[in-house]
Amino acid sequence: MTDTAVESRRQTRPGAPAAPPLRPQNRQFAVLAVLVLLAIPLPLILPSAQGAVAVRILIFLIMAVGWNIMSGFGGMFSFGHAAYFGLGAYTSAYLLVEHGVSPWVGMAAGMVVAAAVAMVIGYFSFRYDLKGAYFALATFAFAEMLRLVTTSSDVVNGAVGYQVPLIQGSSVWQMQFPAGSPAYFWIALVLAGGAVALSILFRHSPAGRYVVAIRDDELAAASVGAPVMRHKLLTVALSGAITAVAGAFYTQYYLFIDPQLAFGSSVSIEAIVTAVIGGIGTIWGPVVGAVIVGSLSDVTATLLATPPEFLSFLQGRSGLDVILYAVMLILIVRLMPKGIFGTLADKISERRRR
């Protein structure tokens, strides 16, 4: 092919919309860098009570990014991400408590275990062609199974769970700091930033594009050479591994894990609600969703502890956050089916095209 041929093809014809910039991922990496830089001083500025909220937002963020890779990009709706969160939490807790292994190593081990389990669950679900609600139910069943197994297994302390042994002072290697230390936030920030970066990389890689094509139309994708099973397994493995990071960090931050906290269905729901509210299948949806969902429970808790006069009947009750999640979910699905970020992004790109 001659250079002139290439040149002439590159010229945009009159009336034809210009090609989008070569690498949209570069723009997304730039946005991510700005967000991370802006977040770094937060724990020093925020009052210490809000520091815990900020860390919780980041944990939700990691979970939602993980869920979004499998269910948003891959279109395989998981109702059982507690399985991967719990495996991350339990693997690192078990290795730390029983064998004194650093939580960092435990986190990596948890990622491997979660990825392997995700591939096993995935393989059988895809092999027997479980789709939609049936696939969601199968993932839910596996998460529940893991919850029951840990509850009744003495090897991992049964229903009692694990307390992270406290150390003197602070240690990055042991991922332990005095309560309220900004170090927790910074570690979570690095992990969350890494998760978002991975999801950007994955979305724009050849594998990620195959995954999206398989979501859009599996047979059409296979018919142009997309290896379906391999890419589905890759997607669930990556999704499981990222979610496991959230679980391992959760254990270190709250210093305690039990079967309900790790594998309970509320964990799966939190991952889903966060991604759905923000915007399924987008890079920034989980980020937006995490900020909202992560701070919501704190807002409601404050409200319940000291309610204003007209809400005094709520004094001392709990569960308002769950009601608000539900109301918000209904409103979002009804009014903004693509989530807050997804709907806004659509509006903007529509306007740009006019």
């Binding site: 050849p206 195959y210 999206v212 139309d217 047979l219 018919s223 142009v224 997309a226």
Partner: protein
């Protein structure tokens, strides 16, 4: 030696004998038209050839190897690529993204993929639509996109399922020219299902007539259209009542 060879291919759906004992042989560089009444098994034949369906018995050989019941992606990567009668675009992608995805298995690198996609999109005349969402295309555009995506996969054998249906007569001409050019320039072998007889007569070296899942006749376009059985089953002015069976 034939590039694509089917022998004794049989496929049943419950009681329906969709394909019965189909024999078919396509040489390198040949253009074969597949005709027959609705429900004759034409699309089922493509599904079996491309791995979307497993035949109950019989074999599909491509380029000397048995590909019977292999996965669609394996068959596509070996160079046998099909289009769909009911268009199946990747709905979340632009036209250019649809096309470049199909090139991924042989081309690496974002810039080279983009160049390849631009070239193929221009070849089917969709450059104005290149960066629009595929779902915004009208029917005729979606048909072209099907063709573009299949071309981008670099087929040795291209199987086209009614790629002209839904196109205006004026829109068919450039597509027919493109198909003829594909063989001349790229040496692509074509197997195409088509109802528009003018196109079948013009393009095909050979025509295969399917009726009720069985090969009714095969031969040059002239031979086939003169065959009384074919006229009776398919070409006749008034379709017989059981033609849709």
């Amino acid at each position: 030696m034939s590039l694509l060879e089917l022998s004794g291919v049989d496929k049943k759906f419950r009681g329906l004998h969709a394909l019965s004992d189909v024999e078919m042989s396509v040489s390198e560089g040949e253009i074969v038209g597949v005709i027959g009444p609705n429900g004759a098994g034409k699309t089922t034949l493509f599904n079996v050839i491309c791995g979307a369906l497993k035949p109950d018995s019989g074999s599909v050989r491509f380029s000397g190897t048995d590909v019977t019941g292999r996965k669609p992606e394996t068959i596509a990567r070996r160079g046998m690529v099909r289009t769909f009668q009911l268009m199946r675009p990747f709905a979340s992608m632009t036209v250019a993204e649809n096309v470049s995805l199909a090139a991924q298995h042989h081309t690496r690198g974002a810039a080279r993929l983009r160049d390849h996609a631009t070239e193929v999109v221009a070849r089917v005349g969709l450059e104005e639509w290149a960066h629009r969402p595929a779902t915004e295309l009208p029917t005729a555009g979606l048909k072209r996109l099907e063709l573009a995506r299949a071309l981008a996969a670099r087929p040795r054998v291209l199987l086209l399922d009614e790629v002209l249906a839904g196109l205006l007569p004026a829109e068919r001409e450039p597509v027919l020219d493109l198909l003829a050019e594909l063989r001349e320039q790229d040496g692509t072998t074509l197997v195409f299902i088509e109802h528009i007889m003018a196109a079948v007569m013009r393009l095909s070296d050979r025509v295969l007539v399917l009726d009720q899942g069985a090969v009714l006749a095969t031969g040059t376009p002239d031979e086939v259209t003169a065959d009384p059985r074919v006229i009776d089953a398919y070409l006749g002015e008034e379709p017989t009542t059981d033609a849709d069976a």
